[in-house]
């Protein structure tokens, strides 16, 4: 098996959640291989992440360069191509950065690219077998790929749950090998989303609230739950009608079409217009005090309860995890 590398995303001196997931994924692909974390950036934040990764990965390669202070995929690609050996297997998170970097990197490394891997079956010779999803998750497929000349593998975030795997190794400074890091795309700035201007169509987890919330003052508890879960808050039409939440949060045929992975329908009966706004076959949790609410027909998990009592308890339980 060729060398295995995982690219570590980080910001403000803290490694991204994917950092610990990629080691798990890497060990599934190549249980015996030595897995090297590649960390790029500059300054003290970079060193902090490197030493953190050194406790987990078999080795850490560091590239310290002012051009890498912000992870511009075009620049990172150049650096990786410069330092990685031929036939490397490179793991990336399949997020907005991994999508930016992965495909082009595979071409420059002259290796195979597989996007958005949600499961690993194993390696047979130079053939890796993985699980992917198509049609917005409606079906899964087994995919084989030839990794004889190396591969760039984008792993879906959140799928490979971190475990206690800790190998530990040294930080090797590869900064000198990075070469010319000029690029035709330059990073300007990150424009922060305006507060209250959440784009629920892009949310992966939604806590969606319906009429069961009864009063505007109770909306607060939904935000508390969403915060605990790391989710965004959406709602059904009546909540917007009542002007308790802005229109941009409304799910339904007359509101937004959302494609989350998990949809928490809290006190939503599941009208035809509402369900029309939910696509991509998410895992739906329905909480409703009416056992006959149609939402239970389409939900994966149902709980017959008053959300006004249930939500605070669930929030507390999640916060205590």
């Amino acid at each position: 098996m060729a060398d295995v590398f995982a690219y570590i995303k980080h910001a403000d001196g803290v490694a991204d959640d994917s950092a610990l997931e990629l080691i798990v994924a890497a060990k599934k692909i190549a249980p015996d291989a030595s897995v090297t974390a590649v960390v790029t950036g500059s300054g003290a934040d970079l060193d902090k992440v490197c030493s953190e990764m050194a406790t987990v990965y078999n080795a850490v390669w560091k590239i310290d360069n002012a051009a890498l202070a912000y992870p511009n995929a075009e620049v990172v690609r150049k650096a990786l191509v410069a330092i990685l050996p031929a036939d490397s297997i490179v793991l990336l998170p399949h997020d907005t950065f991994g999508m930016d970097l992965g495909p082009g990197l595979s071409i420059k490394m002259d290796s195979t690219f597989v996007a958005d891997i949600v499961g690993v079956d194993g390696v047979d010779g130079t053939t890796l077998k993985v699980v992917r999803q198509e049609f917005s998750g409606a079906v899964s497929t087994h995919v084989t790929c030839d990794i004889s000349a190396g591969a760039v593998l984008n792993m879906r975030p959140g799928v490979f749950q971190p475990d206690d795997t800790k190998f530990g190794g040294d930080v090797v400074d590869k900064s000198g090998d990075a070469g010319d890091l000029s690029a035709k795309r330059t990073f300007i700035e990150v424009v922060e989303a305006e507060a209250g201007d959440v784009d629920i169509t892009k949310s992966e987890v939604l806590v969606s609230v319906g009429r069961g919330i009864e009063d505007e003052d109770n909306i607060e508890m939904v935000f508390d739950l969403a915060k605990a879960m790391g989710a965004d808050v959406s709602c059904s039409r009546p909540i917007v009608d009542a002007k308790w939440l802005e229109k941009s949060r409304q799910v339904g045929t007359s509101g937004q079409t959302v494609k989350p992975k998990v949809y928490m329908a809290m006190g939503i009966s599941g009208s035809f217009q509402h369900m029309g706004g939910i696509k991509g076959n998410p895992f739906i949790v329905a909480v409703n005090k009416n056992a006959k609410a149609p939402i239970f027909q389409v939900a994966d998990v149902g709980i017959e309860a008053d959300i006004l009592e249930f939500i605070p308890e669930l929030t507390e339980a999640i916060e205590n995890l």
Binding site: S106, I107, F283, D300
Partner: protein
């Protein structure tokens, strides 16, 4: 500005009607209807709007069979000036890299300042744009949700996590993959399509493109789909019973498994 937009004909999956065929090697395609990949539609609209602003022309290209011509016409009805169909029996079974190789050959036959793709398509790989850019040695930006044309360069916004936007400056020529929501694509009705029904759409085969079909088709594909399967999902909701504590415990387990907790 001369803009090339790469589009794909995909099954319309607005309803959960994707079923797997008896052999498990494909989805049931008999009852499916096809349309242009949603992301590509935004890309074409964006191209048209750019040309409206700064002049130039929009060409839509696809790799596919005769039936793919339909999506080219639809995009031309929207306002794209030219269509280009890359078709060859040998292209069948091409993987992402194969498609990017075919498109690269088409790009080199033209003189384009800007190449747009949709951020992703039915397979959800989001790969062709990035590969094409790397093959052409053009700069690339993915998930673009804002384009401001400048002199020899563009200011582009990329959608990144948390609803934030990453602003970049990118030199032309370049490849961008377009995210939905960048604009509001115009509607194309039957009437619009009929208006362009008789417009000639040039076709290019592997040899026209100077390609060895064997190097891009199924045989050359290093990534192969083996089968389709549906992960088990029961009928109706599984009602969680018991005390509130038990229910919450069970629910949290589910949420963890399904990625509902961060």
């Amino acid at each position: 500005m001369e803009i090339l937009v790469c589009v794909k004909r995909v099954p319309d999956t607005s309803e959960n009607e994707i079923e797997i065929n008896g052999d498990g090697n494909d989805i049931e395609r008999d009852d499916l209807v096809y349309s242009v990949n949603e992301w590509d539609n935004y890309a074409v609209e964006e191209a048209i709007q750019i040309v409206d602003k700064v002049g130039g022309s929009v060409t839509v290209v696809t790799v596919g069979d005769d039936e793919s011509e339909e999506v080219l016409r639809r995009e031309m009805a929207m306002g794209a000036n030219n269509g280009l169909l890359l078709t060859d029996d040998g292209f069948e079974g091409a993987d992402g890299k194969g498609i990017a190789t075919i498109l690269k050959a088409a790009v080199e036959k033209g003189n384009y300042d800007l190449i747009l793709t949709g951020a992703q398509a039915d397979e959800g790989a989001a790969q062709v744009g990035g590969m094409l850019a790397a093959m052409l040695d053009y700069p690339y930006a993915s998930l673009v949700n804002l384009i401001e044309p400048g002199d020899g360069k563009l200011k582009v916004g990329r959608e990144i996590e948390g609803g934030n936007q990453e602003m970049n400056e990118i030199e032309l020529p370049c490849v961008l993959s377009i995210q939905t929501g960048i604009n509001e694509p115009r509607y194309v009705g039957i009437r619009g399509i009929r208006k362009v029904a008789s417009v000639e759409i040039p076709e290019l085969s592997a040899s026209d493109l100077g390609l060895d079909a064997a190097a891009v088709g199924a045989d050359a594909a290093k990534v192969k789909r083996v089968d389709y399967f549906v992960p088990d999902m029961g009928e109706g909701a599984e009602m969680l019973e018991g005390s509130t504590e038990e229910i919450i415990e069970k629910l949290i387990e589910y949420l963890k498994a399904k990625g509902g907790l961060k």
